[in-house]
């Protein structure tokens, strides 16, 4: 029997596990969380998740972190997040499906390091998963349709949403959306109606360009943007707010794929028609291969799971996956990141949150002929060398310095030296 390991139990991973089981494989499904569903299917603590049927047909490993990969060999830690004394395991399946998802992409702006500034995803996770509102008066801003469900979730936990701001102008957004996406457009219309009921204004071509406060956010400055995201002078508006939630699209989490040796295209894992990566036996599905949302991720997962188990994905399954991928491409065209965003930054704006490297330090270092290349830049400014290892600042640093972003993090998740030294790995 083919042994398949699926990493990530979000929409892509759950579909992969279900289809691999259906194709006759022995499936182990891992996730860092205690509950399945990923970032999309977040539920309040203790709520039934509805994935019991899938989980009962495979080996379900919750609270499991893959910290290193060599080919198809996975090094796993089981136990509470970042704890000491977690169990170490090694898994060596016949086929591996990576469905590790994405996190918010957030561009830096003055004050984004203040407590009270959150990613849009953080606001959503805290509202949906924990029933906590990140603030009483909140501005939601950035790019992409995800801002709408974030605002809706904030309203549902009692926050007042002062405004939702899409940085792209109507002319850009209109380019991507079409009659082909009628079902999706209907979903957005429902969100828009919810915002209207709560009298939440939705503005296109406007962005948060500064968060103000000393110890925490007290005010948020927004401005009108041109199509390239340069600020139109004199259009600034200040809101008194105690929270701001910002997301400029999503960035994939490709560490495990990179460690396995999978080739990337523009930061996303390159996959063939059946979700096969460039490494034999390793498949990728969901946001890792392109940002398309939960439905597209599940379609890719279904194809990947079937193929990983040695099956042949049906034509209807492939057609549905391709249709949803087309939607993802149009979405990217409708909500791009404008190239002129660095115009928001000042000399002293923090870009690398961990090491507090500023925009001024970075641009000076990039111009210094005595220290050429990304390696010298990193060592000289410490950008990307903090605990997050450039996950948050990588794209911004690359854009500011004209360097290529690297995703190679040999230790994909933290492991304590004590855990590494003391406990012997055992096959499960």
């Amino acid at each position: 029997m083919t042994r398949v390991v699926v990493v990530g139990a979000g929409p892509a991973g759950l579909a992969a596990a279900a289809h691999a089981v259906r194709a006759g494989a022995d499936v182990t499904l891992l996730d860092q969380s205690a509950a399945p569903g990923g970032q999309f299917h977040r539920l309040p603590p203790g709520a039934p998740h509805g994935f019991e049927a899938i989980l009962s047909r495979c080996s379900w490993w919750p609270e499991s972190t893959v910290w290193a990969v060599a080919g198809k060999r996975l090094h796993v830690l089981r136990g509470p997040a970042d704890g000491a004394g977690r169990e170490r395991h090694v898994l060596e399946p016949d086929a591996l499906v990576l469905a590790t998802g994405a996190h918010d992409r957030t561009l830096p702006f003055p004050g984004w390091q203040l407590p009270g500034v959150y990613t849009a995803g953080a606001a959503q996770a805290l509202a949906k998963g924990e029933r906590v509102a990140v603030g009483r008066r909140v501005v939601v801003a950035g790019a992409g349709p995800f801002l709408l469900p974030v605002a809706e979730s904030l309203l549902a936990v009692g926050a007042r949403v002062l405004a939702v701001l899409e940085a792209n102008p109507a002319s850009t957004v209109r380019k991507g959306w079409s009659w082909r996406d009628a079902r999706k457009a209907g979903e957005l219309a429902r969100y828009a109606a919810a915002l209207a009921r709560h009298r939440v204004p939705y503005h296109l071509g406007r962005a948060v360009v500064e968060a103000r406060g000393d110890d925490r956010v007290r005010a948020v400055v927004t401005a009108r943007l041109r199509a390239d995201w340069s600020v139109v002078p004199g259009t600034e508006r200040t809101y008194e707010a105690d929270a701001v939630c910002v997301g400029h699209g999503f960035a994939p989490r490709p560490e495990l794929a990179v460690a396995a040796g999978c080739a990337l295209d523009g930061g996303f894992v390159r996959v063939g028609d059946d979700q096969r990566t460039s490494v034999p036996g390793v498949f990728a599905a969901g946001e890792l291969t392109g940002i398309g949302g939960a439905v597209a991720a599940a379609a890719e997962g279904a194809v990947a799971g079937c193929a990983a188990a040695g099956g042949v994905p049906g034509r209807a399954l492939l057609r549905e996956r391709d249709r949803l991928r087309g939607f993802a491409a149009r979405l990217a065209a409708a909500h791009p990141v404008g190239a002129a965003w660095p115009g928001w930054l000042r000399e002293d704006t923090i870009v690398c949150r961990c090491e507090e490297t500023t925009a001024g330090e970075l641009t000076r270092a990039a111009r210094d002929p005595a220290a050429p290349g990304p390696h010298a830049l990193k060592l000289g400014t410490r950008a990307g060398l903090g605990p997050c290892q450039g996950r948050l600042c990588g794209a911004a640093v690359s854009a500011l310095c004209g360097t290529a972003e690297r995703h190679h993090r040999p230790i994909a998740q933290p492991i304590r030296l004590g855990e590494l030294a003391e406990v012997k790995e055992n096959d499960a």
Partner: protein, 84 residues
Amino acid sequence: MTVEITVDGEPVAGTDGQTVAAVLLASGRLSWRTTRSGAPRGVFCGIGACFDCLLTVNGVPDVRACLRRAADGDEIRTQSRADA
């Protein structure tokens, strides 16, 4: 169902199953770590990517508050970069 934890010795109540970050935010705490420069930090990404929300749980430092579920009796300590 509630859980009782302490934060730098002060008792704080949360809902069973909530993350440490959610319990702290719900109690009105916005930041619980300081950077090398002394700047305050709390939750930013909420899903384990940014490491801004690190704190000490039962003597174990550098635990991401957004990923760790609060357990009854947990002793939480705020931390600075110098402690790590």
